[in-house]
Symmetry: C2
Subunit: 587 residues, 2 copies
Amino acid sequence: MRSLRVAAAQINPTVGDLAGNVERILAAVREAERLGCDLVAFPELALTGYPPEDLLLKDGFVADARRALDQVAAASGDCAVLVGAVVPASELVGHVGTPSDSRATSAPLLANVAAVCAHGEVAALVAKRLLPNYAVFDEQRWFVPGEGAPTLLRIADAVVGVAVCEDLWTPDGPAAAMAGSGAELIVSLNASPFSIGQHGRRRQIVADRVAETGCAVVYVNQVGGQDELVFDGGSVVVGDDGRVVAEAPTFLEHLVVADLEVHGDPSEVTEALVEISGASRRVDPADLGEVAVPRSEEGEIYAALVLGTRDYLAKNGFTDAIIGISGGIDSAIVAAIAVDALGRRHVRGIAMPSRYSSDHSISDAEDLAARLGIRLDTVAIEPAHGAYAAMLRDLLGGEPAGLTDENLQSRLRGVLLMAVSNDTGAIVLTTGNKSEMATGYSTLYGDSAGGFAVIKDVPKTLVYDLCRWRNEDARAQGLTAPIPDAILSKPPSAELRPDQVDEDSLPAYELLDPILSAIVEGDRTVPQLVAAGHDPDLVERVARLVDIAEYKRRQMPPGVRITSKAFGKDRRMPITNRYRPQGPGAS
Amino acid sequence: MRSLRVAAAQINPTVGDLAGNVERILAAVREAERLGCDLVAFPELALTGYPPEDLLLKDGFVADARRALDQVAAASGDCAVLVGAVVPASELVGHVGTPSDSRATSAPLLANVAAVCAHGEVAALVAKRLLPNYAVFDEQRWFVPGEGAPTLLRIADAVVGVAVCEDLWTPDGPAAAMAGSGAELIVSLNASPFSIGQHGRRRQIVADRVAETGCAVVYVNQVGGQDELVFDGGSVVVGDDGRVVAEAPTFLEHLVVADLEVHGDPSEVTEALVEISGASRRVDPADLGEVAVPRSEEGEIYAALVLGTRDYLAKNGFTDAIIGISGGIDSAIVAAIAVDALGRRHVRGIAMPSRYSSDHSISDAEDLAARLGIRLDTVAIEPAHGAYAAMLRDLLGGEPAGLTDENLQSRLRGVLLMAVSNDTGAIVLTTGNKSEMATGYSTLYGDSAGGFAVIKDVPKTLVYDLCRWRNEDARAQGLTAPIPDAILSKPPSAELRPDQVDEDSLPAYELLDPILSAIVEGDRTVPQLVAAGHDPDLVERVARLVDIAEYKRRQMPPGVRITSKAFGKDRRMPITNRYRPQGPGAS
């Protein structure tokens, strides 16, 4: 039995911020060194932040990123540093594949690697083999896959294999090959984004690989928001017996440190080892092996929304947010998330009643603002509404009416919020939920106008669940529940015409949301939904709404992805799309 | 020497319109049969339209598309039909690769095939081998590659190989393998979008492959607009001596028919042949072998913009367009394109002067509208401008000023145009050019509000070139030049404050556009541009503008791609991006 001390550095890098990311990495390296660790692992592409997207097509960027890796290597000492980096594939000649297309680009072929640094040098580069190219992932756009026999390292007398993210996901895949060659410990570098239930799936994958390979696993994941993605962390160290030795809290930066035993037979190693270090550096005793308390599902989602919002603003230079407060539930949850992300002094509400707004909308908005402790201004849009009625009279042959008048009111609010944004430098947070995004129940340049769409991936029924959870969480801590009960109990309404409620235009959300989930996340077609027992007219109508709203979604601001399929780069549907399912045979 | 009659059906399918595409295909098949053709070739994925994108993740869609192929096969007779289709990869067991990732999706593995139909049946399925996954292409998201020995067909006693698009592009690739196995003729099914110069590059590729393989080539390409892409067609039949036998006009549907000689030695064929037909069906004489007259570069670009706009509207159910006419050059060219695409009775201009608009703006707008023969309404935005000044006074602590007031005017125009759009059902065409998109010199929800951004990929200097070309083209035909000279000669201005001109905020476009092209299309970084002799302060400033405008571009409507790299799915830059090039060493 041999033992080593390992660290998983769950950091929050910023895409493109090479100098800042190097600094963050070196701070964790110093801490790992101080704690006597034999190795410290960082997330996939930690040096560039994940995903750097088409920055990778700039050879200047790749060269700068390569120099950043050299900086980390130069600062490395006895503790092995395993860090995600991008390198030209030419550095790994003979161990990477070629692209399976004939791309005519001046960009170099790249590899997504775990760089192993120690004693001031890059000791090994281990290229990712399985390059995800589905869902939000485009890795075959930029990288060529690693190939050939596994690279094994000797660290503190243990035989260590290295897997980059997806490489750990497949049974009988790269991890099994490492174990077959004699690895005792697999270090897994990840940039695995949050979605509902994903934390549990990842834990299961790690458990499956430990069971399959008999190896211990150090699993490190990125944390933080990057455009539409939020990374939850949840880094974990698992012994070769399957026991969770240490685990990081989710949605926070954290250095997980643990002592691990390995029980392999180094004489059975079939590959040449890259020699990194001999006896373990660990010093006893140490306060190691904390295991984080799991969050509830709602708690997890809410934390994702808070961190996604906080990081989008902070990483893009915003400190303050403006929200149009309608007195409805969507703007209420967005305001609560914004306050939790930024602090109440950095959030400002603006109520913009029209001639159709109800009295309770104003009082509910005021109650919400009071509970959250945020500034609320009220500006009636009637002067602009009246001005446009006159300006449009000749063009339209009468006053604007129907949908034209409803959209007009929404856009007049958008104009007002954007003027305040331009004047103050605060970002406008939009309040549309996923049910509205899906069905197009929103106004382009109206309620959808703004810089970040906090709940665009949260179905309406889940908005209610999150509000209730947030209120209960506050009450459990003896604090004021932020969302007024009146907002939770009244029927949803856009209040753009007299006595309007959402159910005039849409099915009840309890009926609608499961159908939307089947269409959007499940890719089901109408005949399949009918075959599954849904009302034909209803699913036909909903599917049609989803299709024709694609052009609106293409102009929406980004927002936090929390489901298995968000609108945006996760779901690449054509706008021009005349597909109508043709028969009941589709199964 | 043997001879056969071939047809290339350059059709304009609509994505998802399976029934409509089948109808279009069968009409061309009947015509080819009537003309005594031995084979008729259709574009890549002609049955679904290209690119179907994530429709392919719906197994119901794939099943419907498979049935559409059976319809085409059932209608096929003696003339072989080679048509682009999608099939489950399971239909090609042993001849397709596996995805190079561990995708956890319920979607079936698919192949992008040329289906060979004859005598009422699908006789062969030839899977695409090289799957482009760069630029606007995501084919590795949906398809697994074809593998194994080439499939060869015997058609009219000739030995025929089949290449799907990219398969023809690589030297020593799939085409060479077909020739090595005995092919005399290669039929190449394509969906290759337009960009400047691409037509000539394709011709060169075909010539190169003919020279390399000694095979004749039937090259058929899709025509028509699909969201941001426009396909130019340009189908061509080239003899094994390199001579262009027949060529379709660009940007139009067309059936190219030609007689081709083949000179191979069928006894040298090394693969089993799929037997399709014996002696040629061709009947003499026939009026064959037309070769289209090439267009000028400006003529090609202008045709792309017209067809892209016409098809986006028609395929999405719009007949009419509204354009905010400022009296400037951008709205002038957009109006001219719209009239050429839709007809003048379907285009409506609205001039919306503010307190800062000049008299010549109004008169230039009127002159433009008169020349184009379109309706022009004029509505001053002053009433709304005044209303907002009052509504914002308390919020802003004074009247809106500076950029806030400039953006306000632009948004008030957007609100007005969208109200007319909502009321009439006509689409708003936006008028921003690529130089503005790149630098963020536009107002979100203002001048960028609308359904289609016709010239979003056209740099400002090219806007001038296109206007001049359009005027000259009209004059050469004895028609009125559509763009008033006054619009061509005055300095560009947004007219959002007194005496404003674009050059107050931006470098002269003659200086700016080459830098933008190097940054956007060339992926050059600031140190690289400085090393190439550009002014350091200027390129630093321009590069920064490009970076910080990414959030705006994400909310822009789609528009026609005409360059080698358009904004949109062609350039996937993160919004959150702190990259600053680090040194002169980047090369």
